[in-house]
Symmetry: C2
Subunit: 314 residues, 2 copies
């Protein structure tokens, strides 16, 4: 059997046909055009699904199910409860897509879906429990316990970005203060770098962006830190400290078999991973007990399609 995976992003809708092994055998994409009424958007999803089926030379009979990863919260019965980027509330996406392709439809949060992809076909395959962290604009997460997705009793779990790491800390876009994603994300690195650069106009970060603070991003900071620029090293170390404490919180809370770092910031690879691994022992509550394996995500952007597709395998 094959599985259709739909990765619904704010900019593009990426759709793929995925085989039993979790490999994409055909894929396509189309602009989201997020301001459209949702029925038009869903119609495009279905058209993309048909296109990948054709391309993969498979028919509807070969399809087990359709899975959709959304940047929001879904209910077990296939409703999108919230999807802030798209301005969606209570959208019956399952029923809508079944008008075009009458197959079982599963919907889940995009970070959860990415964690599920790594568990089904990536780095955490074979583990029993894992927590996937996406270090991007925000901090997303996907929790797997006993081989199953855990998104909470009401769908509000696995929101590690909004676990408070500093009471009364940095104001968050969610209205609270001190949420973990204010400290453990690309956005956090940029904020910390801008603060540091305002006192150091000649540092390597500022040279790299020709003095334009709006051009600072995580890669610029990491590259300057690799070169040994003292301002960049300070920002990098500060980010690593917060991220390591956050990872240690995952351990004290759930102690999964594996913790996976994904998202744009994780493209820094071993430079990031080695720094976290070096800092972690200082924060462990049980330093002599075994500790989750810390790994980089392996599926990159394809995790969105693969994980969504394989929701039908849960």
């Amino acid at each position: 059997m094959y599985y259709i995976g739909i990765d619904l992003g704010g900019t593009n809708i990426a759709v793929g046909a995925v085989n039993e092994e979790g490999r994409i055998i055909a894929k396509t994409e189309t602009p989201t055009l997020a301001s459209r009424p949702y029925p038009e958007l869903v119609k495009d999803m279905a058209a993309c699904a048909r296109r990948v089926m054709e391309e993969a030379h498979i028919t509807e009979d070969d399809i087990h199910s359709i899975g959709i990863g959304i940047p929001g919260v879904a209910s077990k019965d296939g409703m999108v409860i919230f999807c802030t980027n798209l301005g969606w509330r209570n959208v019956p996406i399952r029923a809508e897509i079944q008008q075009y392709i009458n197959k079982p439809v599963f919907v889940d949060n995009d970070a959860t879906v990415a964690g599920w992809a790594e568990y089904q076909a990536g780095v955490s395959r074979g583990t029993n429990s894992s927590v996937f962290l996406t270090l991007g604009t925000g901090l997303g997460s996907g929790i797997i316990i006993n081989g199953k997705i855990w998104a909470g009793a009401h769908g509000a779990g696995g929101e590690l970005g909004h676990v408070v790491l500093e009471v009364d800390g940095v104001p968050c876009t969610c209205g609270k203060r001190g949420c973990a994603e204010r400290y453990c994300s690309a956005t956090a690195i940029i904020r910390m770098a801008r603060e540091a650069c305002s006192d150091a106009p000649n540092c390597a970060i500022m040279r790299a962006v020709n003095g334009d603070m709006d051009r600072i991003n995580a890669k610029v900071v990491f590259d300057a830190a690799k070169e040994g620029d003292s301002v960049a090293v300070q920002v990098f170390n500060s980010f690593i400290k917060y991220l390591t404490i956050d990872i240690n919180n995952v351990i004290s809370f759930l102690d999964p078999e594996m913790i996976i770092l994904g998202g744009g910031v994780s493209r820094a690879g071993d430079f990031l991973l080695d720094a976290v691994k070096a800092a972690l022992p200082e924060y462990l509550f049980y330093p002599t007990l075994g500790c989750p394996e810390l790994r980089l995500a392996s599926l990159g952007n394809e995790a969105g399609i693969i994980g969504a597709a394989l929701l039908g395998k849960e």
Copy 2:
């Protein structure tokens, strides 16, 4: 069948025989005398188990299993890995007790065991997921997911007291800083009250303890807050704020069906519960989604025996 439950505390060992419904039908206790070599202590456990069997008019044939709740970390194969109060490391408690009573032996952390008791025979019976918080000297926790205890892949999970709530915050006994139990425990209430009282020598708290700060405890603070003393109200509100943020963190992380407050501080009952319930909506990431039911523990001190006994039912 019946189950033997052993609640191993720093001061007393409490032992009970528990029936299928989770009711204690006979119990006894003996001083722990923690400095003794562990074989002597385990011998006393076995003697107490024999005593409750006699008292309950049951024999070894009626016993399904023996469960032990310890203030520390246990492994799946019946070893006590750490038990700081008792100075234990790698104690083969299962093998030791089986010399006296040859039945299956299960060992787990005391807060986990209390959460299991509430799930099997108390307030969270019938739920699928719950997080139990013991607000005592420290902050302990027990996590149930899909009807099973979750203590982590290496036994280091469910340590919510050592999840960091404030980076670089109040130093913790564990060596880290800002751990949740520094803000959400009887110890935290006492610390905050002492700080507040040092500027307010005539407040109701100080009057209640005749000016002796060493006599301040959570009950004194809560009683003064109930009377409306402004210093006590300020300490109480501060505690409620931290506890509510911590509870909200449990929601953003796991979103269980129910969150249960137990331990000495929870004896404040509805005064505590109502304050947390009133504060919680301000911190919810998804205020319009369903939210875990917040309840007080129902089994009190008996949770230790009942939960340990029913470990054999997992």
